[in-house]
Symmetry: C2
């Protein structure tokens, strides 16, 4: 039996931008993290597709076999940062079945299977944490759970996709047409070669569904979201609207009391703080019962920012691991 002073051990499923950002974030403040936790935090192993691929950040051990992580009894926390629906879905179910704490940044998976996976985690007495799946570096889920625990969210509105905001910012500020701005976003690494998930509004819709479940304590599914993207915006329309002082933004919003939950382009006046959020930034405005209007903005993506959000979840999961060890120790003396 491990005791309280033992390492808390983490296994990574995936080691791309977010995984490497996470390891970099841990390395930048390793002493700080261990002293805050009261135990050393160790990345034990990472699952990759090609163990020989060159990576910016080194790791103690890479594996191409998921069982080396999911079935290793020494690993306390499984962190899924591979993205996509499969095999992430199966892996998370297996990890929970093996009684691991689970952290994921996978918005598509959560939008589609969040409630089922949360129920499974609860049945197994484990945490399923996913701060990084929504708004990258803005710690909004924890703010809703902890910061607003005495309040009630009534409306959600925000810019949830940095890629489209980057494209729209270029179209508005530099007068570029959509294909040019998209190509530049791809060259800058903000848009995928196949950009549909971002430009169609699907990425924003996934985040909206996850956020709405947290805010409103109701069931929400992707199919509930009325969704449109930015593909059909043209420069002529932008020029006309700009003369009226309005700027296009891809806005995700939900007012459940009106049955409204949608993603689409809105033309915002310059007095709206959301209209001032430019480039790959994300932003969120909440209307609450007591506080009224609250506004957040920050980085919606990026390895280090998203890795930092994952790290926040790992810290919370690690505290659960230590509390459990403590309880077992008190009960059994080992």
């Amino acid at each position: 039996m491990k005791n309280y002073q033992d390492d808390v051990r983490v296994g990574l499923l995936g080691f791309g931008t977010v995984g490497q950002g996470l390891v970099q974030g841990i390395n930048l403040q390793i002493d700080n993290i261990s002293s805050r936790l009261g135990a050393p935090l160790k990345i034990q192993r990472a699952l990759v597709q090609d163990a020989n691929k060159k990576r910016v950040v080194g790791l103690p051990e890479l594996t191409t076999n998921a069982r080396d992580i999911l079935e290793d009894p020494d690993i306390d926390i499984v962190v899924e940062v591979m993205g996509g629906e499969q095999p992430a879905y199966d892996y998370i179910k297996q990890a929970l079945g093996q009684r691991k704490q689970v952290v994921t940044a996978n918005k598509l998976l959560l939008a589609q299977h969040g409630p089922e996976l949360k129920a499974l985690a609860q049945r197994n007495g484990k945490g399923l944490l996913y701060e990084a799946s929504v708004l990258g570096g803005i710690p909004i889920l924890r703010t809703i759970q902890h910061g607003l625990c005495g309040d009630k969210v009534e409306e959600v509105k925000g810019i949830f996709n940095g890629t489209t905001n980057f494209i729209l910012t270029r179209m508005v500020e530099l007068g570029e047409d959509y294909p040019t701005a998209l190509r530049l976003a791809q060259e800058a690494g903000y848009a995928e070669a196949e950009p549909t998930m971002d430009v169609s509004g699907l990425d924003a819709a996934c985040k909206l569904v996850i956020l709405c479940r947290e805010c409103f304590d109701l069931e929400f599914h992707l199919k509930d979201v009325t969704m449109s993207g930015i593909e059909h915006l043209d420069q002529r329309q932008i020029t006309l609207e700009k003369r009226q002082g309005r700027i296009p933004k891809l806005i995700a919003c939900a007012k459940p009391q009106n049955g409204e939950i949608q993603v689409g382009v809105q033309w915002l006046p310059e007095t709206d703080l959301l209209s001032r959020v430019s480039g790959v930034q994300n932003a969120l405005s909440l209307k609450t019962l007591l506080a009224g209007e609250l506004f957040w903005s920050g980085p919606g993506a990026g390895g280090l920012a998203t890795g930092g959000a994952v790290l926040g979840d790992i810290m919370e999961a690690a505290e659960r691991v230590l509390t459990e060890r403590d309880t077992v120790f008190q009960q059994t003396g080992k």
Copy 2:
């Protein structure tokens, strides 16, 4: 011995704007709160100076004797919303001595005696919570503790005082001179008859000190803050700077690695989101190691917004009360 299903009982010290906002906030969502807590939350009694004064919100019981709250064994949580240094300081010490959980919204008291009171709370194994003392309805302390627990704050910058921001907004947008804008802030109930605490920068400095202690894990005192106010701003200077695209804001900022901690007027370009925060709103920008730049804005004052922040602290304190009862129950069977 009380059991888990018993009420969690709250005593209020003070029943002004924030106290009444708190009671109103609880009444608006009483079922919700009890179901989230798993036990009914009850405001047992409030300390007032004049029990016969007419109030907007009714209360079960008012008292003019602090001992009716501080020494009542049925009261689990003492909430100090009277403001000022004394007698709040003595009352909080007595409440902690009586092993109550304590919640306070008192920035002056915390800026001056925060570390001593926190140490006393810790020695007594009780919580001292003070989300409402900084930035009113913006839940920033809990965000730093929970949301950013995997990150490290490096710089703090913000608009921490709604009264001066209201005055500056009028001076910039309507061309009013300082005495006129101040008088209007007083008439609107945003400024006190004796406005020094706000307009000198002292109120913002108190909040900066409290926030810096949370962010940087270092000692900070009011005397460390280089402080100036808005009293000497004139309309001629504003007009000149506006032509250059710059707007005056009373900015609190801290960069501890440079030994910089100050409150004073800064001229911000219109591209800075802080320059867009108008009226009695507050705002905060944090620079962190991993997330980079994060921005918040929201209501800095107001009974309901600040009462909501107090309520968040009460919810957290109530959970501690219930956990303690649970532990006692397990150990003694009663």
